[in-house]
């Protein structure tokens, strides 16, 4: 699904990613853990195609295609979804309009028929119910006035709606209480399938109790310094990143 080969990237002229190698196969969930400043969010933005994140060498193949040549919206329409660490507030754009526009834009890109307002409403109501989100949120402007938890749940709602092939979760656990965390994790787990893959970026092991990964990697100073199975997450939780970096 995703092959990252010797990826180097700079932000504002400063090298943040210093040779990442990572392969994610369909059906797998990988977790990337690491201390602040290791480059976790940079990796997610590079994969999603954000301006200002410059790839200086290496390559990324997504379903065998050069991912880095695609615009952010093309990546999304081809099935990549980034759940933001800090979801953006967009005053004046109603959530329902935003979701419907995104949903239909992706369908159009893939040559599928667009859905009408009624059909969409039915679909989105199912999703909000699953995620215990109040319908009135759809009338409010995107993320405006949402609590931290509501914003994160809104990310998971978008993901459930858009049903991506590759889920990228950037610190989705931060700002969530335990109940909200479970609901969010359920949303992700519901999407897990042999055809889909996921990359979960997190600072804490907590989320991984609910979304159990197949592989865990430790990112430090722009490189993956250690990889293992889910037990690595527990080890990190006990010993901390410092011990591991020293090892």
């Amino acid at each position: 699904m995703l092959e990252i080969k010797n990826l180097h990237a700079t932000v504002g002229g400063k090298e943040i990613l210093k040779g990442i190698n990572l392969t994610i196969k369909a059906g797998e969930i990988h977790a990337i853990m690491g201390p602040n400043g290791a480059g976790k969010s940079t990796l997610s933005y590079v994969l999603a195609g954000r301006d200002g994140y410059e790839v200086t060498s290496g390559e990324v193949l997504y379903k065998g295609e050069d991912l880095l040549a695609l615009s952010p919206d093309e990546r999304a329409s081809k099935g990549i979804f980034l759940a933001f660490q800090y979801p953006v507030e967009i005053p004046g754009v109603a959530s329902a309009t935003f979701l419907k526009t995104a949903y239909n834009a992706q369908r159009k890109y893939r040559g599928e028929p667009e859905v009408d307002a009624m059909e969409f409403l039915k679909l989105i109501r199912e999703k909000t119910k699953e995620l215990d989100i109040k319908d009135d949120m759809l009338k409010r402007a995107v993320n405006v006035g949402f609590s931290g938890g509501e914003k994160k749940r809104n990310e998971v709602l978008q993901m459930s709606l858009l049903e991506p092939d590759l889920m990228l979760l950037d610190e989705t656990d931060s700002g969530l209480d335990i109940d909200a965390l479970k609901i969010a994790a359920d949303g992700v787990n519901r999407l897990r399938s042999p055809e889909r893959a996921g990359l979960i970026i997190t600072h804490y092991q907590r989320l991984l109790d609910y979304i159990v990964p197949d592989f865990v990697h430790v990112l430090a100073d722009g490189k993956i310094v250690k990889s293992g199975d889910k037990s690595l997450a527990h080890e990190l939780e006990e010993k901390g990143y410092a011990a591991l970096s020293a090892a």
Binding site: A48, D73, F84, V88, I90, T97, T101
Partner: protein, 429 residues
């Protein structure tokens, strides 16, 4: 005598010859009015940039003389898009009966043309303006050709808006239009007016409309203006409004046209419970320049003014917003709010903002806010990351920027019309 700008000199030179054929030339009172207008204009000239009120708007391109028009003569009039039973059209500064429809107006609403009023010597409907320091108003008084004279009797409520169209097409002597409108609403009368200024593409001209509005006790005027002059036109408009007790003046100016435009509104609040609501949106591209200047005078206690102006500036377009709120001594319990925001779609676009609060009473509530910025890159990426193409994402954000000011248009049909106009403008972003 000091040297006048070339265009001002032309007007002074032409006056004697022209005034013999202007409306009301047989009336000594009208002739005297024109003469005093010309004298004031000649002493003022077009304002240069040393005049504080004109610091951000340079009229040199106008005052050195308007270029010959490129537009073909007798091109078809741009069609009216707003539908309403009452339409009054002026073509090249003159009332055009064949393009108007005034037979459905109810009793109590009298709509005539200024030319007709002047021809019968009715100069009384124009007040005295000896102290007026505005050169273009003086010029208008000297050369006024025609315009709307609207009188609504007390208590009348007009069912549908009146559309007033000022259309400029190429042709002989068509390069300047000094329209003069006089609007009076009697006690508790309610009228909605949609003013539209349009010109055919490539036509270069100078539009200089002056509008005097008097609202008696409890009257309400919803006054909407769509300025869509040709891209080679100059548009300098002045609207003076007086509000009596409990009167409400709602003004919304949507501007997309003209090479250089200035919309100047002066509101004098003379009664308690009166409300002045001035809003607008300007959408400019290329090298267009759009100036909005408002002066709100709270002259008695207990009344309200509010203003929201939003501008979208692309390419090398320039915006200006100058907003003055004056509260005289003893005008207590007044509230005045003003907000100006500009969205710059290009790093060569610019906006100049000058809010001015002149407050001489202590029990008042006043605010002003001004901001300008680019499209939010974070929001743009967020939308794109969900599969929305950049072009669509930009449009969504621009739309969102304008949404709240368009909401201020209280007439549903006009709001929809303006939303359609802005959507069309955005299609070209």
């Amino acid at each position: 005598m000091k040297n006048l700008t070339p265009l001002a000199q032309t007007y002074v030179d032409r006056f004697s010859a022209a005034s013999g054929s202007l409306p009301g030339h047989n009336s000594p009172a009208v002739a005297a009015l024109r003469k005093s207008g010309l004298a004031r204009f000649a002493s003022l000239d077009f304002p240069g940039r040393k005049v504080e009120e004109w610091r951000f708007t340079n009229l040199t391109a106008l005052t050195k003389g308007i270029k010959t028009t490129d537009a073909p003569a007798n091109a078809a009039l741009p069609a009216a898009e707003f539908e309403t039973p009452h339409v009054m059209t002026f073509v090249n500064g003159r009332f055009s009966e064949q393009d108007s429809r005034l037979d459905r107006l109810p009793d109590g609403v009298k709509l005539t043309s200024l030319a007709a009023e002047l021809d019968v010597g009715n100069s009384a409907l124009l007040g005295t303006e000896a102290d007026d320091k505005r050169a273009v108003v003086a010029l208008n008084t000297a050369f006024m050709e025609d315009g709307v004279v609207l009188n609504a009797a007390p208590g009348v409520t007009l069912d549908a808006p009146i559309l007033i169209r000022f259309v400029s097409v190429a042709g002989t002597g068509a390069n300047a239009h000094h329209m003069r409108n006089v609007i009076h609403l009697g006690e508790k009368a309610t009228v909605t007016l949609v003013e539209e200024h349009a010109g055919v593409d490539g036509h270069a001209y100078f539009a200089n409309p002056v509008t005097d509005i008097t609202l008696d006790k409890g009257a309400r005027l919803n006054h909407y203006k769509y300025q869509a002059e040709s891209a080679d036109a100059f548009h300098l408009a002045n609207t003076d409004t007086e509000l009596a007790e409990g009167a409400v003046y709602e003004n919304f100016a949507l501007s997309t046209g003209a090479r250089l435009s200035r919309n100047e509104l002066e509101t004098r609040i003379l009664g308690g419970g009166a409300e002045s609501i001035l809003n607008g949106a300007y959408l400019m591209r290329g090298t267009q320049h759009c100036d909005t200047t408002t002066i709100t005078r709270h002259l008695v206690p207990e009344n309200v003014s509010r203003q929201i102006y939003k501008g979208i500036l692309d390419d090398e377009a320039q915006g200006v917003f100058q907003g003055k709120i004056q509260i005289v001594p003893d005008a207590q319990q007044v509230s005045g709010d003003q907000l100006s925001r500009a969205l710059l779609l290009s790093d060569r676009a610019s906006v100049a903002v000058k809010p001015e609060l002149e407050i001489h009473a202590d029990d008042v509530k006043c605010s002003h806010g001004a901001s300008s910025g680019e499209l939010d890159e974070d929001a743009l990426f967020y939308l794109q990351s969900r599969g929305i193409e950049e072009k669509t994402a930009r449009k969504m954000l621009i739309d969102a920027f304008l949404a709240d000011v368009l909401e201020e248009v209280s007439n549903d049909d006009v709001r929809e019309y303006f939303a359609a106009v802005t959507a069309r403008w955005m299609d070209k972003v």
